[in-house]
Structure formats: C-alpha cells, structure tokens
Symmetry: C2
Subunit: 332 residues, 2 copies
C-alpha cells in the first residue's frame, strides 16, 4: 500500500525571469527544489521554456526516484497559448519525459498558481501587480473571470509599468515648468540620464529623457517603480500620491469581477504586492474598506502551490486544506 | 520704387498629412496657393519632405515671376531637427532654388506658425491638440517655453491619441465587467473588430480588441478620437467625461508655461481644437475660467501665417498687425 510519504508530487512555477520547481511528499517533506532561467513560452519560445523546465525539474528531482512522482502541475503565464500550440506542448511533453517522469501533468495560468500559493480556498480573488497587473476570480480552483492584464498600452493600471511611466510624466511636468526635479523626479532623472544632479530643467533635458525612454521597450519603464516605492516609503508627496492612485486602480480592476460583499479570500501577488511595500499597504487598506470581511493573503511559494494543485486530485486525498497547510509554506 | 503690390512673399505649412503653400503680395492679394502631400522630415525623411515642398511651391507660384518673391517662411514640425541636419537643410535649399526662388527663407516650428495664424500679437500661448498635444509660449514671435509634446508614450495628454486610448480602456472595462458595450464603447468595438454589434462580452472579445490595437502603431489609436467627439456631442456620459478630462489635461499643460493672470492671447490649434468640437468648447471654457482676460483665437491658414512671418521683417513694413489683417484670413 502506498503511504503519504511514498507519494511524491512536483510543482513548477514558470515566470518571465525564473523557473522554480519543487518535489514534495504528500506528508509535506520537501525532497528537492530547483531553479532555472525565465521560461515564459510567449516571450521566450516554447523550446527555451521547455529547456528551463527540464533544468529546474532535474534539480528538484536530484536523488529522487522519478517513478515515485504521481502527479505534476506547471503554472505559467500564457498557459492557454501553450495548450493551443501542438509544438509547444510537444516540447513540454519531451522535457517532462526527459526528466524521467511518467505521470501526467496539468498546465495552469500563473495567476491560479499565485492564488493557490496564498490560500486553499477553492473560491476567491487574486490581484497581481508586478511589471503588469491583472485580477482574476477563482472558482473551484480554476481561473474564471479576468480583469485587466491588457498590457502596458491599454491596461496594467497600477502596475510597475504604470508607476514608472507616471513618475517620468511627473518629471517631465517639473521640467516643462522650469522647476528643478524633486525627491522622486530627481532620482528618476538620474536613473534615466545617468547624471546625478541636473541643474538645467531645459528643453534639452526634456528631449534627453523622452529619447532615453522611447529608445527602450516601453515595458522597461517598470524598472523605475522601485524608485517610486522608495520615495513613497520616505513620505515623498508625489510618490505617495502615485502609490495611492495605483492602489485605487488595482482595487478598481478587482472590483470589475469581484462581487460587492464577497467574503472569500483575496490573494495579493506580484513583486509590488507581496513585499512590505507602501503599495501593498495601500491595496490592503482599500481592499479591507471595500470587502471588510474578506481574508487577505500574500502569494507565497508558487512551486509548492503548483505541487499542491497536482496533489489534491490524487486518490486518497480527502482534506485538501490540510494538505495545503503541509505543502505550502504560509507567506503571511 | 517697389510697391506693396510688387512685393511677394511665400509661406509654407508642412504637416504630417499635407503641405500647403501660399504666395501673397504685401497688400494682401493672394497670387496662388499650392497643396502637396505630407512632408514632415522627421517621419518622412528630408528628401521626401523637400519634394512635397517643391510641389506645393510650384503650384503656388504658377504664373508668378519668382523674382518678385522677397522672402519666405517654412513652418514644420521638427524644425530644429531639420536645421541641425546638413543633408536635410541642403535638400530644402535645393527645392527652394528649383522653384526659382533666390530670396532667403526661414524655418520655424509648426506651433509658431499655428500661433501666428490666429493672432498678430508677438506674445501669447498656443495650445494644439490633434493626434498629439503640445502647448508653447510665444515671445516676440519665437517659440519660447514648451509643455508636453512628449509623444504618446509619455505625454500627449488630452490629445486624439489620448482620447482614443481612453475610449478603448473604457471598452475593456465594460468587457471585463461582463457588460455589453455602451453608446461610446460599442462603436469603438465595432470600429476595431469590424463587427457592428457584439453580444459577447467575453475574454475572447477582450483578447481580440487588445490584439487589434497592439498590432498597429500605437498612434493609430488617435483614429478613434472622432468617435469620442461624436458621442460627446450626443451627450453620451462616458465620452462627455473623457472630453472634460482631456480639456483639463490640455489646459494643465498650458498652465505649466503660461503665467497666472496672463492677458495675452491664446491660440487653439490642431484638428480637435479648431473645429466646432465639444473638446474645443470645453477647452475654451476652462481657459476663460483660468485666464478670464485673455483673448481666445482659433488657428487658421498656416501657409498665410508663414507668409506673414516672412513679410513682417521686410524693409518698409511698419505695421505688422495691419499686415496680418491683410494677409491672414481670420479663422474666428
């Protein structure tokens, strides 16, 4: 008879900058973890994503008999596109089998995995703000309705991209007015132009800023978001106002899909909402105002959550919440 | 002795979609006009711009002895870049001389020419909203300080691009909420997807909208601005709110450079502010509130204004305002 400690599940969380894998037993012993490079199949191509998948899997399975693995789940952005692409799916199948795995695996969106890393509740909302921003309703542990996630040109309201772009807009407004940049816009100017202090709020400086930004991919504006977070933490008024506006926009996106009066949990994910940031604080406060009875959780270990998603459908699993408590480290 | 009717000046207004030329005598007789294709040297290259310049010039000078032309002015977007580019400048010199002209010519920014098409006052403000948006202070008929004009990624607040993008954002918000598009967002959806009525506010519709928009150059979002103007004219609430917000943003840009209490004129230029549009009405109302003693003018005939800018420095011109009244047709 197979016991909880015999049965192994693997979970993978494939992000744009890193891929993480975890191999765990059903009684919660972590047998191995693996980490590899970014593997988003939409941006990197499915072949490369599959290569990172294999590297992370092999690391997590070091010293583990792959025959013990009964199930696996892969969470990634663009899951739908991968599943619709026979070549991409074949590349993932090959990586899976090259790792020695014979069990089936499921593919889910990264938003579902982020959600499951914060709660075992089958129904709730996940709100993610990193480079981009998206909110999704989860129903019976499937992604249901989605709000935003429309990309930087049309959406990502309140995201890192949004914060960075707005910071540059405030800088350009200072320069247009002939004012010296302030405690947020000064560091933004220094970051963009490499000059630590510019005493010249002239059109030449304006042109230099616009040129630096427009020469790069627009999404790189998200790199300026930490400057806004840092300035807001120090109480700088422009950054504080931007963070408040971003929080309003993010919660507005969630409100497009989350019913008024909902009491199921909200999970906060993405670099801007999982850390101890002023934006996370502002979003939590606004969520608590709008849905006072909803538990708030931070997203945690995505690979472990993916492993839990794989495990909960196995025969003999009767208490998925208890399994979640064993498998997924609490983030907050 | 040379008389007012002997002396001819030429003016050119080179825009992104058309080039216009005018040949006028100092007593206000229009000897000819010419029109050619768009000639912005930044977007089309200086050689092509010079070709359009020559075509428009030749049309305007049909039947006119080019030896009678004493001065000329060319207004164009990106004037500074042309002047800094020896090859571009040489191409313009050649076109000028190929048209048979021996007099010198000056090159000014299109914003100055738009300003001069609305007023003869040497000092004032010009506020332009078309595809993009820019405000500039004019001092002694030279462009002085500039606000916005930062392009669609970082600026153009309140422009046609801005209106179009915000209309799509409102559409995506409707779709995220599972609502059928309204009287503004419905036509926007139809324009983007070609389907006159979509009863399916699903994620597939969302994806189709995002894909259509992101496949095109972002600036093409400005093509949706007329839908906003039309809906606002009909009193549609979302469009009305967008127009009000655009007006606030445009006047805020002007306020970055125009002093409080200024009483010199404001000239409104660009397709969104020269026509009888709800945005023009809203901007005029907001300008009148903020600068109650400032005359407001609409930009008019740019080629005639360029001719006036050329003429006013000629020997014997003692009353530039009277000359303006003769040469530049009043727009409003």
């Amino acid at each position: 008879m197979r016991t909880m400690s015999d049965t192994v599940v693997v979970g993978l969380d494939i992000g744009g900058t890193s891929t993480r894998a975890a191999a765990v037993t059903l009684d919660g012993v972590r047998l191995g973890t693996g980490r590899a490079g970014g593997g988003n199949p939409t941006s990197h191509g499915a072949e490369r994503a599959a290569g990172e998948l294999l590297a992370a899997l092999r690391a997590a399975l070091t010293g583990v008999d792959p025959g013990r693995v009964r199930a696996g789940t892969i969470g990634l952005a663009g899951a739908g596109r991968l599943l619709a692409d026979p070549q991409g799916r074949a590349a993932f199948d090959r990586a899976w089998s090259d790792a020695g795995l014979r069990c089936p695996y499921a593919v889910h969106g990264d938003a579902l995995v982020a959600y499951a890393s914060g709660t075992a509740s089958p129904d709730g909302t996940v709100l993610i703000a990193g480079t981009g921003a998206i909110a999704a309703q989860v129903h019976e542990l499937r992604l249901d309705r989605v709000a935003d996630g429309h990309g930087w040109l049309l959406g990502d309201a309140g995201s890192g991209f949004w914060l960075g772009r707005e910071a540059v807009r405030r800088l350009l407004s200072d320069l247009d007015r002939g004012q010296r940049p302030g405690d947020l816009t000064g560091p933004v100017l220094a970051e963009l132009t490499g000059s630590p202090a510019v005493a010249d709020p002239s059109r030449a400086t304006v042109d230099a800023v616009v040129q630096v930004v427009t020469r790069r991919p627009p999404v790189e504006l998200a790199r300026l978001a930490p400057l806004v977070v840092t300035a807001a933490r120090a109480g700088e008024p422009v950054a504080t106002a931007l963070v408040a506006e971003a929080a309003t926009l993010l919660v507005e996106s969630a409100g497009r899909i989350r019913p008024a009066g909902a009491t199921d949990p909200v999970v906060l994910g993405g670099g801007l909402l999982t850390g101890d940031t002023p934006l996370a604080d502002a979003v939590r406060a606004e969520l608590a105002r709008r849905w006072p009875d909803a538990p708030l959780h931070a997203a945690g270990d995505g690979a472990a959550a993916a492993a839990w998603l794989a495990a909960r459908d196995l025969p003999g699993v009767t208490d998925p919440a208890a399994l979640h408590a064993r498998l997924v480290p609490a983030a907050t």
